[in-house]
Amino acid sequence: MKFTWFHLMPWPHMPDDFRQKHRSVWVDLPSRMYEPELGHIAYHQYLDQLEYAEQVGFDGIGVNEHHANAYGLMPSPNIMAATLTRRTSKAALVVLGNSIALYNPPLRVAEEFAMLDVLSGGRLVAGFPVGTSMDTNYAYGTIPALTREKYAEAHDLIRKAWAADEPFAFNGRYTKLRYVNCWPKPIQKVPPIFIPGGGSVETYDFCLDNTYSYSYLSYSGYLRAKLLMEGYWKRVAERKVDESPYRAGFAQVICVADTDAEAEKLYWPHVNYFYNRCLHVYPGFADAPGYRTVKTIQTGALSQFTQAAARDYPNMSWKDLLDGRYVVAGSPETVRQQMEELIKTLRVGNIFCLMHVGNMPNDKVRHSTRLFAEKVMPHLRNLWPEWKNHDDRFWMHPMNEPVPLKVAAE
């Protein structure tokens, strides 16, 4: 198993009447709500938490990209990952990822990911999401029905740029470059690539064609994810490729305390903040017409945020969220049991652990993280013995002897 400690970096200062006052946490939330000096504190706490996750033994630390929102404050995850390259030395840097259709030219992603891979000594795990509709269409203006085609072309350009050792010309529909010449180049040649998906068959095939790991980033827990992941594994079987669990990953909100009762006491306000403020997306922004293919809609796959809008989060209690396994929370033993069930049910080798939740303060984040690392993670390590708990195709390949890092004061 590979455990990645994943940070969304939400804005932790949304007021109690946020839902009443604002229709959406994304796209049209006035930015006057953002206070830069509080943002300074939040960013550094969040980066410290990611560094702490490496110290206590997580395999990876993760960041991602979002725009015009208070749900996740990383328009540029690469800037965050760059700071982490200097203060960490073992964990994979899981950038999940860059919304490649949004970069102009998308060659920028090939370059910046190469920089991160070189800086980190080959520790990059690269994600290529299409991006949410809020980000890609509403905040960044990509025409919904052309988003997938633009994405596919950007992917093609990035892979060619990494593969080529000489300049070449790229005549795409959306990007035309006479001289594609990627300096620097990644240490890993092609870093392992994770694709966040939401249930479209096209994305399953894209992952299988390219040996990319399929990542389902859900907030509704593993019981609801079962159907989707079964669809993926069915496709894997149809395509007659191996069934390595590392072909798949899942994101899970996890809160660990000494006892089940303590978990509720410590974490419920922050879980509530996450589900009722961070996920409060206006349904009109969740899925621009044309963003999803007709085929995908016909399979019944709704966007994560359309589902969130349809759910009655304001009336869901801690017990409801736990019983439905939206959240895995409780004592180390409770969490271990449920995580084992999750991992086996979904057949996933990668877990993206969401352990900073909503507006959770630093001490609680560290408490939960440490308990998970010390009392849960060791018991989940050996769930895929037939794969020796590792699949080289879907994890980083760091260089053997990276330069020992020194802090400026030395």
């Binding site: 044309g290 999803r292 809609i297």
Partner: protein
């Protein structure tokens, strides 16, 4: 109203065409919402004209939308349709997005489109008068955006289904994705693809019609179109919103009859 199908050469695109009425040929290009059920404007126009109303790929049973990506593709597609329909000196009427397409067609094919009627056309952008974002609207918000009388407009749009029924919702989402997915190629995120710099090419005799109460594309845009098209006349229709033709079909018919 009758539906028939037409296969275009050389693109091979197959489109659905609604036809109604007798008289002088009139080509009607619909807006982003497509034809309304028993479309009141088509019905009114059909009392005096032979109305030929093709559906844009992505709408109804017209296909081929994947091959149409930008404004030039779509304007040329419109001219292919005009050509294939073999109409005689038609009045080309376009509403909203259809008006944007009609204006582009007239700017490109200056002699083929000689009579043009633009009903609250899209295609321009004035910073001081931003046009609303139709793409993020929920179905229940549309009547108020498109009609002066939202209640009557809601009945005309007649979604006729329950959004809480998963099967209906899926069908609605598929239809919406196809239609507005296509419309987005012209209108998303800002409905301006450079028409402003081509309007002066239009040589057609042009009637511009605007609902006085249009809250989606404010009537001030009518003046901008009037100013840019040399042989044009602008009229405003009282107590009408953006769907001016569907809300006041008789008044729009009268204006067209008087002008052409």
């Amino acid at each position: 109203m009758k539906a028939r199908f037409l296969t275009l050469k050389p693109s091979g695109i197959r489109i659905e065409v609604t036809e109604a009425g007798k008289g002088r040929d009139l080509l009607y290009l619909h807006g982003a919402g497509g034809h309304m059920p028993a479309d009141p404007l088509i019905a009114a126009l059909a009392t005096k004209y032979r109305v030929v109303a093709p559906l844009l790929p992505g709408y109804g049973q017209s296909t081929g939308e994947d091959g149409l990506r930008d404004m030039l593709d779509i304007a040329l597609h419109g001219l292919d349709v005009l050509d294939a329909l073999r109409l005689r000196k038609p009045i080309v009427v376009g509403h909203s997005m259809g008006g944007m397409i009609a204006a582009e067609m007239a700017a490109i094919a200056r002699t083929e489109v000689a009579n043009l009627c633009l009903l609250a056309p899209a295609g321009l952008w004035l910073d001081d008068h931003p046009i609303g974002d139709i793409f993020s609207k929920l179905p229940y918000e549309l009547p108020g955006l498109l009609f002066h009388d939202a209640e009557a407009g809601g009945r005309l749009l007649a979604p006729g289904g329950d959004m809480n029924d998963p099967e209906f919702l899926k069908q609605f989402l598929v239809m919406n994705a196809r239609r507005l997915g296509m419309a987005g190629k012209m209108l998303f995120p800002i409905p301006d693809r450079g028409l402003g710099q081509r309007l002066q090419r239009i040589a057609a005799k042009t009637l511009i019609v605007w609902g006085a109460e249009d809250v989606l594309i404010p009537p001030i845009y009518g003046r901008a179109f009037k100013k840019a098209i040399s042989k044009s006349k602008l009229i405003r229709i009282a107590k009408a919103g953006h769907a001016v033709g569907q809300e006041k079909p008789a008044a729009v018919l009268k204006a067209i009859r008087e002008f052409f």
